[in-house]
Amino acid sequence: MRKKKVSGLAPWEEPGSLAGRVGKGGVLALILLSVLLPLYTIVLTSLSSAETVNRVGGLVLVPDGITFDAYRQIFSDSVVSRAVLVSTGVTVVGTAISLGVSVLGAYALSRPGTLFHRPILFCVLLMFVFFPGLIPTYLMVASLGLKDSYWSLILPSAVSAFNVVVLRAFFMNIPHELIDSARIDGAGEFRILWRIVLPLSKAVTAVVGLFYAVGYWNAWFNAMLYIDDSRKWPLALVLRSYVVDSNPLPTATVGVSGFGQVAPPTLAIKMAIVTIAVLPALIVYPFVQRHFTKGVIIGAVKG
């Protein structure tokens, strides 16, 4: 056992003391537990029957029969299912727009010396050091007539200076020879971007896409600011209202399984909403995770 662990060390490195290693393992285990335990118990509670939740008197730690009742109830209720649709739509459309605009912009900024390169770059970089403020932004969105429009959830946050800079740094690292030879062969800028630059930048584009998608899926404040009509609420607002604040779900709108009673949502239902909110991140995450370091380091070094 001891031999095996030591084998990963360099020859000059002294093995740690037993106490040190046990302590380290314990700390790491606690850290893992602090992330995984809440997720585990939340998902498990969402899958437990009302009786189990009542018997335990709170979150369920030991599985005792799995049921999808809470999910069935949520999706028979139009509030949550519509919010899921809204969030999905905003995330998909928003990410497509953000990624398109950022990739084009970053590519346009990736060659110093071109026309208006400096003012446009300055325009973007200044976003890092100064924030125009909540109220002028709000007034701008309102004066464009975007209040209560899904576009208010997309356009104001469509361009992230950080993501543009990360993409630009990556594009600038692509060998000039490749781009020059394509140009000699008569390729236009759009074709160069599409056929040469993007295929070489799949990883960083994926990471930036994830950043944008997560931002849209999670966005709460913009929705609270601009969306008054509760039928247009994205999931984050539903989460706030029914899970954090325990407001009663408007069961009058239910229809099929409508009991007509106005009661705070049960714990299982709350946890089912939380699970739905976490789920996309959990699904996409493993595919993109290995690229994080690449994307982020370049941004940090060149930014």
């Binding site: 356009l155 074709r191 493993p286």
Partner: protein, 332 residues
């Protein structure tokens, strides 16, 4: 969206007229024509970004003039409202709620500088000392994860763990103790928000330190070990100096950002603990400007924050240069 279609659609416009928003206006001057002919596709590509940044960043930034106005959106708007100079600012500094927001913000920043800032560094060192690559990758995957949760979700999760009906209280009650509701306790609020920040972002924060650690030349460690430096001395004399530029960089960024504490985080929990401990700069702008319709007043607070933040980051960067560090940007 095919590249060909895009190219065709823009070539139908004469090059001199493809100029997108603002910055391209001067493009028709003669000396530029050759450059314009060569670079106009790049300008077309930059156009959507420039339009969005102009609409939602530059125009609002200029819209801050309402901070100097008795702004009324219904009669006059931004052009017709009377200019009242610094009255809004004068009123601001006499507003006890504003003073409290400033004090709270700075207090929380200072507290988190001590109790949050070192956590990712320590965690990175801990992760870096895990020998098995696969185990390390697994732990990294787990600790990065909460960064991708929204603040609503984090608050909801903390509520389920530490709230009055949460898991901890539930376990305490099962063993005959009375449960504590950390979520509504204003005395421990600063601990709560720091714990939430650590849970959400400390793991993600390790990335940049781990990257810096991986660039330290392993021969340095070997040479030091041969010279008799043991684990802790190697960390002190090699690892920490290797991390210094990154630490300074992030410290500068944090100081320049001193007036920003998690906005959503505080908005979400303001109701539960009251405004006395949870009012920070941004929530003040929201509650005293936007919600009351006193836009000029709120904009004054926002502008004050933006300008102080700008000054802070410039000063911090200058200090870093003076200390011989690279800083955030250099004069180039």
């Amino acid at each position: 969206m095919s590249a060909d279609a895009d190219t065709r659609s823009v070539t139908e416009v004469r090059p001199g007229e493809t100029a997108p928003a603002g910055p391209a206006d001067g493009a028709r001057k003669e000396p530029f024509s050759a450059r314009l002919r060569r670079d106009w596709p790049l300008l077309v590509m930059a156009a959507p970004m420039v339009v969005l940044v102009t609409a939602f960043w530059w125009i609002p930034a200029l819209g801050n003039v309402i901070a100097f106005q008795d702004y009324n959106p219904y009669s006059g708007g931004i052009l017709g409202s009377p200019i009242i100079g610094f009255t809004n600012f004068a009123q601001l500094f006499g507003d006890p709620q504003f003073v409290r927001a400033v004090v709270n913000t700075l207090g929380i920043t200072a507290f988190q500088l001590v109790f949050y800032f070192p956590v990712p560094i320590a965690l990175a060192l801990l992760l870096n000392s895990v020998v098995s690559g696969r185990l390390r990758a697994f732990i990294q995957g787990v600790v990065y994860l909460p960064h991708f949760f929204s603040w609503v979700l984090v608050v909801a999760i903390f509520q389920q763990m530490f709230g009055g009906a949460g898991l901890i209280a539930q376990i305490l009650r099962d063993h005959g103790y009375s449960g504590i509701d950390w979520m509504t306790n204003s005395d421990t609020f600063i601990l709560l928000v720091t714990a939430e920040t650590i849970w959400k972002d400390a793991g993600w924060g390790t990335i940049v330190f781990l990257a810096a650690l991986s660039t330290i030349d392993p021969h340095l460690y070997e040479a030091a070990a041969v010279d008799g430096a043991r684990r802790w001395r190697r960390m002190w004399h090699i690892t920490l100096p290797g991390l210094r530029p990154v630490i300074v960089l992030l410290l500068i960024l944090r100081l320049g950002d001193a007036l920003n504490v998690g906005f959503e985080q505080f908005m979400l929990q303001r109701g539960a603990v009251g405004s006395k401990v949870s009012e920070v700069f941004d929530t003040f702008v929201y509650w005293s400007g936007l919600r009351t319709g006193d836009f000029g007043y709120g904009a004054a607070a926002g502008l004050f924050k933006g300008l102080v933040g700008l000054i802070l980051i410039l000063v911090a960067n200058k200090v870093a240069h003076a200390l011989g560090e690279r800083g955030v940007y250099s004069r180039s």
